[in-house]
Amino acid sequence: MEGIIELHDNIMFYILLIVVLVCWMISSAVVNFNEYNNHFSMKYLNHGMVLEIVWTIFPCLILLMIASPSFILLYLNDEVVLPAMTVKAIGYQWYWSYELSDFLNTTTNQTIEFDSYLLNDEMLELGQMRWLDVDTWLYVPTNTHIRFIITSMDVIHDFAVPSLGIKIDANPGRLNMTSVIINRNGVFYGMCSELCGVGHSMMPIKIESVNVEDFLSNIMEY
């Protein structure tokens, strides 16, 4: 996520440069070349080879300068090397279902699977975030390389947690993968980001990341 913010700020610089340039030129045209100030139009000013080359090359250079950090970030994002843990997030209409299949309860022979529903307005307690808080949410350990595998059981959903910089479509019949390392404890919210029917706005995602010890003791209790 930090990379995305930095790239965004980088690109914003060039964007502001271009927008300010265009607005400046239009304002100077409007102020200096209107019919009250300038009675004779420069009607033969129709070509300019050097100028045209300049304004073709200059955007190319700006695009190159935008593209280099962009490609670096893109290829960096896709390095999924040796994740320590896998979380499966399965989209249903209209809730998410999480499976942490790395942990097997040897007595009952079950892995961790649970559904995550939105708390609607009647069930909310004071202090809970409306439309973002869920009944059971995902606990993950901090400073661990986690791989998310996303799919869907019925229509296309989208697993998006903007604070962690992830957004992947949950396509039925397809497994999409992304990876995350969360560097600090905290809660991270997200919402489903692909139209999936009437409950599209009612499928939030809540991830809470805790220390590894707390996480493991939490798992034991499950």
Binding site: L124, G127, Q128, R130, S163, N185, G186, V187, E208
Partner: protein
């Protein structure tokens, strides 16, 4: 120009040459061209073309022969702000546009206020101050640190 047009022009010129000489010698009467800037647009076409013909004839003389009134009339007819040169923004247009815009803007404010106060359902309970403060406490306890601050309760900016 086509040949037929040239022929017609020369014959017209020949017909007009006598009357042109008469028009050229005599200054145009004051009454017909006084205050021409206020009268020109409402003048009937025949009178307009008569004054044009007379002025064209007078302008064949050296310019010092023309009376000041004739000079002003010639300038107004050719370059005055009527017809093609009518200004894009007439007097008072800016005020009218501003007034109309402000009127519609206030209508929009009225519609917005009426809708949000009387038609729309009220905001849900989670927008109240107590709820927002409690949500802030929860987030702080969980070490969440969003860039824009915790909630709108303590916000001091534009969109309070």
């Amino acid at each position: 120009m086509l040949r037929s047009q040239r022929l017609i022009n020369t014959s017209v010129r020949r017909l007009q040459s006598t009357s042109l000489k008469q028009y050229a010698q005599v200054p145009i009467t004051v009454g017909s061209i006084k205050d021409i800037s206020t009268r020109w647009e409402r003048m009937p076409t025949a009178e307009q073309s008569l004054i044009l013909t007379k002025l064209k004839a007078r302008q064949t003389q050296p310019w010092t022969e023309l009376t000041p009134l004739e000079q002003k009339a010639a300038y107004y007819i050719s370059y005055g702000s009527w017809g093609p040169r009518k200004p894009e923004y007439a007097e008072g247009d800016v005020g009218k546009v501003a007034l109309g815009f402000l009127g519609m803007f206030s209508l929009a404010i009225g519609i917005f206020y009426t809708f949000t106060t009387y038609v729309a359902n009220p905001k849900p309970a989670s927008n109240s101050i107590e709820w927002q403060v409690a949500a802030d406490e929860y987030l702080k306890s969980k070490n969440a640190n969003p860039w824009g601050g915790y909630s709108q309760v303590n916000q001091t900016g534009l969109t309070k």
